[in-house]
Symmetry: C2
Subunit: 235 residues, 2 copies
DNA sequence: AAGTGGTCTAGACCACCGT
DNA sequence: CGGTGGTCTAGACCACTTC
């Protein structure tokens, strides 16, 4: 929140979420926003750009800026990295740690983590519950050179909070691959489903803001409760 | 290509794709690019921003701009709307039209298309083949007020080319929802799979750049060949 | 301290939408 | 035509990385 464009973005986001523009669906013009926030046009446009990128609004040249109605209810915003609690603010999310240990990575993981096959990595396997229902199995490998210490307490809670707040690392971006497959016996049992039923799978490679890879993970979602949303632009 | 930032973007994109920065992985500095292209810093930054958004590069403040290695091979870039031929430039893509007719929309579709239940819509059902293998079943509803005429010739070819080039409509953006489910008997048969096997499903609501909805569609992918990719940012 | 990207400003002109 | 967003410039200063 320390930059002007962030302040403008957050102010407008809040107004939109609270329904201020529900009737007209039209935002004030750039000119009006410049006067209202007492910043330059580029600063307004930077805030607007974020609102657009996040799918809150769309822009029509020569006409104006309009609020999109786009229900995020019960869906996971796939381009976010803020965690499930952001996507399900009205639901209870629990985690149970199934495994936590330091291992040598297999070839595939070493390749993805861009680390040596003799390096040490944390292996974490968790299951997450949405309002008590088994929702997702998450298998994560952390590069131990970057994340030197983990315990069950941290892993059960929010790993990302630990990484950003305690280790003071800056998370940057992630590559995601989405596919689907048949559940194996073990995963099916954990999710309360049957072997061979569908699973929505998201593979992640997560980078620090300096480009180092610190985390490779696979999330296996219960297909009955999972909807991922995103938006695309033609240009 | 009529804007300077587009020219800069395309030039840099081509250089990256052709592997010019493969060794160092570092792009020239903004200052160097300004001199090279003889444009202002903001224009360079606009081009850079697009490269970043598309996942070609990542930016490190105080350090530089670096090429990401991110294999798009055999994957569908989910935030693109350029069609499968962009995602599979080295494969043959065919379509077969299964159904094409004008109907009244059911309540659900009318709601999504934001049209009246008594309005007319085109209903199109196609199957698409990747190198001869059944790859995807696509069911699309077009608002006939916006797309007044369609025939099998157009639908078999590229609908979007017709819409943009012939009808001169501007496609803007799309909301996408990704989920997975069990195949029903009929879809399974078309895809060469068995009933109950997994299917990756993408629901789309497509908007013109003025915000009007012209197309609601559902794509049912053969899970054996389908990987969707995207990237996420933490900020 | 030097290099490099990030934020911010002020102002000009263009392109498109609606009346 | 006036209103509104889109592109582009020139320049100042800040923040972070690297040495």
């Amino acid at each position: 929140m320390r930059h002007k464009y962030e302040q403008v973005f957050h102010a407008l986001e809040e107004e939109i979420v609270k329904g201020k523009y529900e009737k007209t669906r039209k935002l004030p013009t750039e000119d009006e926003l410049m006067k209202q926030f007492e910043v330059s046009r580029n600063t307004i446009r930077k805030a607007i750009e974020i609102l657009d990128k996040k799918g809150y609004i769309y822009l029509v040249q020569g006409s104006g800026m309009f609020v999109r109605e786009f229900s995020r209810e019960g869906a996971i915003v796939v381009n976010n990295m803020k965690g499930l609690s952001r996507d399900f603010p009205n639901n209870t999310i629990n985690s149970k740690v199934l495994e936590l240990k330091v291992i040598n990575p297999c070839e595939d993981i070493a390749d993805k983590l861009k680390c040596d096959i003799n390096a040490k990595v944390y292996y974490v396997r968790r299951i997450r519950f949405l309002d008590g229902e088994p929702f997702c199995i998450e298998v994560t490998y952390f590069n131990k050179d970057i994340i030197p210490y983990l315990n069950e307490e941290i892993v059960k809670d929010s790993i990302y909070r630990y990484i950003t707040k305690d280790l003071k690392l800056n998370i940057g971006f992630a590559d995601k691959a989405i596919c689907c497959d048949k559940l194996n016996y073990e995963d099916a049992k954990l999710l309360g489903l049957n072997e061979g039923e569908p699973a929505l799978i998201v593979d992640n490679i997560v980078f620090l803001s300096n480009g180092l890879i610190f985390d490779v993970s696979k999330a296996i979602f219960n297909y009955k409760y999972t909807k991922l949303i995103t938006s695309a632009t033609y240009k």
